[in-house]
Symmetry: C2
């Protein structure tokens, strides 16, 4: 663990303009933020109403009425504001900023004298607060508002929202150190990571101390959440007849003793984010070790090839090692966002690029699959295998949707995807006193002081469909060079992805081969460049041919199957390309895979073809008995694969990520 963490670059300085990502980031300002605003105001005709803005108006005394929606409905506004903040960093928009300012005013008006903000409790139970941490989601909600307020402050420089949330955070620091709450923890983690950010921004360690207390208390006795319903002021929110399950909220063991990822996957990853932040800030080795254990458990035993996590459709939770069913899983979009956030933090505190591999996997497969290519519909649940006919309500496939949904009453995933895409720059780079880290490859114009003075990086690439990345480094005038930021001391760390073959670096047209590598990064320093970073052209090349991937045989669900990956992208076979009943198709892993660029499919992708077999005369089975003594006859089949991230954009149909293979 590093004594000083690697910081993110300020979003304002990062102008992503990328061949691949523009398809998605463009949707945020063009489609999602306006749509989401309408949704918050219940103006989307064919979607479930959110009631969110209405709730704030009622809580602020500006409107008669009562509370509607989920107990965590306020977070819709928080995530919208966060996405707006990020979007303003790369696309200033006065009208949008005015909308946001007004919404922030509304939040301020709904804030109580003591700093408390939560429309559910303010409206339905005035005067009550923190009386059901298990289900109430007040701390979770505040966490999202703090994240939004920090983003808004950092992008716009306006501190009103930040001050509103500091007052709320101050209340939390006070309340949760009183005798009654001295062992209390949030039912849904999120406040912890938000308080860590707040400590960073304000420089006030009382916030990080509170976060650390929350994390240290979790899973210890007396178990506050388990016993909370006996409190006199307890208010039953969901009238849930089921007993409280400690594992569900990672409340079963002290966090340093947790060696397996358990419970609700979003809760879990948000907790792990805070653990990583705290481990670094307090240089807490045992907490860092817990983070490593949990990370290893996830990626070695509990993660889908797509970076999806949470394999149970019931309770959206982790189950057991190697239990990764492809058709009944939850694999929530938000859980993969949480995983990406956790991995980013682990990379920030270790400088190890292996975490970026996982982060990229989650972002470029499950998170992107969560949003339609027109930005108008979303998946919560990300199965690896879908047969639309059996995704029907009131069955155990109830949660699996063969087509993306417009907007959910419980709108966690769509705004979470929006804020992730609009803060994409935060996933691309890290910096230290030592230099600049390039984590993910995306074209754009990026300003930084991490290479000494004021530099600009122009990056061009067709990644992930091509492994060539061109980086031009130039000076920005007004550079103030001191000894500390002298170019001579700075290094450029370029991630070597785990999937890269024949990774080469050219500097100003010449191959360099003797560069140092460290933790999965190629480290370029003064020795490697002619004179200074300015005027340096770097060309990276690597190959990432499409290839078959096999699961550990302990994964029962993938026995005898093969998937296809190309670089970070997982591919899948869809009915629209391969016909009905993909379960009948077997792929021949001994034959070569071909790949070609197709401008006209799914907005431009590399399509993959493989050889295989399938049932020769499927129509003969229409009226055939269920069971027979004769196996079906097979015939040749060419199989077409497209990126998993893009599945379900061409109507409802079957989709398989893992195909049976000849053994």
């Amino acid at each position: 663990m590093r004594t000083k963490k690697l910081n993110l670059l300020p979003l304002k300085a990062l102008n992503v303009d990328d061949f691949f990502w523009n398809k998605y980031t463009g949707l945020v300002t063009k489609e999602i933020i306006p749509y989401q605003w309408k949704a918050l105001n219940d103006e989307v005709a064919d979607a479930e109403p959110s009631y969110c803005i209405d709730n704030f108006k009622v809580a602020a005394g500006l409107k008669e009425g009562t509370f509607h929606g989920w107990v965590f409905q306020d977070t819709d506004l928080a995530k919208w504001l966060e996405a707006v903040a990020y979007s303003l960093s790369y696309e200033p928009n006065e009208v949008l900023e005015k909308l946001a300012d007004d919404a922030i005013d509304l939040v301020g008006k709904a804030q109580q004298e003591n700093g408390y903000i939560n429309t559910h409790f303010s409206i339905l139970h005035p005067g009550k607060q923190y009386c059901n941490l298990k289900e109430g989601h007040e701390l979770y909600t505040t966490g999202h508002f703090i994240e939004a307020a920090i983003a808004y402050y950092e992008v716009t420089g306006k501190d009103k929202f930040l001050n509103i949330m500091k007052k709320n955070a101050d209340l939390i620091c006070e309340v949760f150190h009183t005798e009654k709450y001295k062992n209390a923890v949030p039912g849904h983690e999120e406040i912890e990571l938000a308080l860590m950010k707040l400590a960073d921004v304000t420089g006030d360690d009382k916030y990080s101390d509170m976060a650390k207390d929350f994390v240290d208390r979790r899973g210890t006795e007396p178990n506050y959440l388990f016993n909370e319903s006996k409190n006199e002021d307890f208010i039953d929110v969901w009238h849930d007849p089921n007993p409280y399950i400690n594992e569900y909220g990672q409340n079963h063991l002290p966090v340093r003793k947790q060696k397996t990822a358990e419970g609700h996957a979003v809760r879990a990853t948000y907790l792990y984010c805070a653990m990583a932040d705290i481990a670094q800030k307090y240089q807490d080795e045992s907490l860092f070790e817990a983070c490593e254990n949990l990370y290893n458990n996830i990626i070695n035993k509990r993660m889908y090839i797509t970076g999806g996590i949470g394999s149970s459709g019931v309770m959206e939770r982790f189950t057991t090692d190697y239990d990764l069913p492809n058709d009944t899983n939850y694999s929530e979009s938000c859980a993969s966002i949480g995983l990406a956030l956790f991995c980013r933090r682990m990379a920030q505190i270790t400088g190890d690029s292996k975490y970026i591999d996982t982060m990229e996997l989650a972002l470029m497969n499950t998170v992107l699959a969560g949003i339609a290519m027109d930005g108008k519909s979303f998946f919560y649940v990300n199965p690896l295998e879908v047969w639309p006919d059996n995704c029907i309500p009131a069955t155990d496939k109830n949660h699996v949707k063969p087509v993306r949904q417009k907007w959910f009453g419980c709108a966690c995933c769509p705004p979470n995807i929006a804020r992730t895409l609009s803060s994409l720059g935060e996933y691309l780079f890290m910096q230290s006193d030592d230099g600049l880290f390039i984590n993910m490859f995306a074209g754009g114009e990026y300003k930084t002081t991490a290479l000494g003075g004021f530099k600009k990086l122009d990056i061009h690439t067709k990644f992930p469909f091509d492994g060539k990345i061109s980086i031009s480094i130039s000076d920005i005038p007004d550079a103030v060079v001191t000894t500390e930021n002298s170019e001579a001391n700075k290094k450029l760390y370029i991630r070597i992805p785990s999937y890269a073959h024949n990774f080469t670096i050219k500097i100003n047209g010449s191959d360099i081969t003797d560069y140092r590598t460290e933790n999965g990064y190629a480290v370029l320093s003064k020795a490697d460049i002619a004179s200074a970073w300015r005027g340096t052209d770097i060309e990276i090349n690597f190959e990432m041919p499409a290839h078959f991937v096999y699961a550990n045989p302990k994964v029962r669900a993938d026995a005898g199957k093969a998937a296809i990956k190309k670089g970070p992208l997982v591919y899948c076979a869809e009915q629209v390309d391969n016909g009905e009943n993909i379960s009948s198709i077997m792929v021949d892993i001994t034959k070569p895979i071909s790949e070609y660029w197709d401008e006209n499919t799914l907005g431009g992708i590399t399509v993959i073809k493989a050889h295989g077999k399938t049932i020769k005369n499927p129509e003969q089975y229409d009226d055939e008995a269920l069971y027979s003594d004769t196996p079906a006859e097979l015939g040749y089949k060419e199989i077409t694969y497209v990126p998993y991230a893009n599945w379900g954009n061409r109507g409802a149909g079957e989709m398989y990520t893992w195909l049976r293979r000849f053994c």
Copy 2:
């Protein structure tokens, strides 16, 4: 459809004493009935209390207290009494009969003046009745008591219980023809088939008319169940926040328009039983056609190879055609009992042995798997594939248990299995004026008048492990022979199972080959026997070699897999014989299967061996990454199969019915 249905033989005349079945039927008197009585009286230390007898005492005013348990808790006693009645038919037991008489007295004391019996409503809502048909289960409960009363009457000749239940049935016939209830139907079917039996026993058609009304009303407008909660006297039983689903209770379409089996599988099959009974009695062709459509939909599209039905773990329901997942299914033991009862009725009204094939399949696989070989524990849920590690609470495998449970608070399956086993005779034979039908092959001594006069059949066989069945027919003295029951007019119908190869019949040592076959029965008549049925020795021989079975390719879950069947028995591979991770094993369908008798395994079974492959070095994957570019190396594996009916009797472990195959 026959104008006169084939009747069952009275249980009193049937003394099953069979190589195969004794293992199970013996458990009923020895283990289940005494255990169940303790359970009803809350005297089983390590099982959930039933409260059943206590509830009756409270309702009868014999004890202070309140109601405990499920709303249908009374049925525990009904099913126990039914099982006791059947058991007394082959094993008289004065102590047990006295217990039953006392319990019947108790039921009588708990009966209200107007005939109403239901301890839940009598205790918790005195004076209220039939105010929540959707959830209240009053009619369902009464149905089970009527079935028990009829069994008790037929075996013991005592009519007290029958009269109690007639009074309850009379109330139902009255109430459910009043204006308020004129379109009302039961939420859980069962009363319909019970009323059909009551009409048979009493000769009073008002009961069958009521049953027919219930069946005719189902799925018609105005939809009583859907609108019931708006009634002034509605009492919410389960506070279920979910909306009522018409399909769940087969209330979505008029029954004659139902072409696919929908909803809760137990409810469905109990309804179909009544439909078959009514179709025959009222010679209602359209209703009979509906029965055929539903039967065909089940066996051609919605039934497991084991005769299990209801493929969704959620709501224990049918889903869609070909949706037959092996590891998340419900396939309730009671649903297969329901299917067997439906098939038996279809055989009774058609004389077609194809229904017996399905009945036998359900009984000899799923129903038998439902009970441990020591009779002390039970499965509700019958998966075809189990990996114990992931059968954990609060996930989508919550309902799947890797080991049988002692007794459930909701005790439908154990007593249902008990009453099925103790009434086994009812599944073996049918009779008509024309003669005797042998449906299933079980050793024993069976008295009948169906072959003219009073005859006795001694049957010896080692079926299902051997295809030789010896039948000796002899006279019982005191035969009163009239023209009607003259031996000369009688035929013996012997079922030719669909799985039988080289089916041959010897009469008194000589092969006969020119016998007539009809609807899957070999028909033996006077022409085939020397002179008379008395003194006739019949030997049936057929082969039923173990063989591979393949599912229709539309069954996604079984793609590329093979199962093994021998006669009616489905086989499976267990961890105890094959080691861990059965998903790694592939079976070679091109190599011969061997089978051998093993006295020492599972109480004596035919064990099956097949050739295959599996992962060569499984231990190397313990610390291996989840995903790799290299497929695992395979090596030879001999695979051991045992009957599915017997799985899970040797500790918890993996079990697979379908194995992957070389294609």
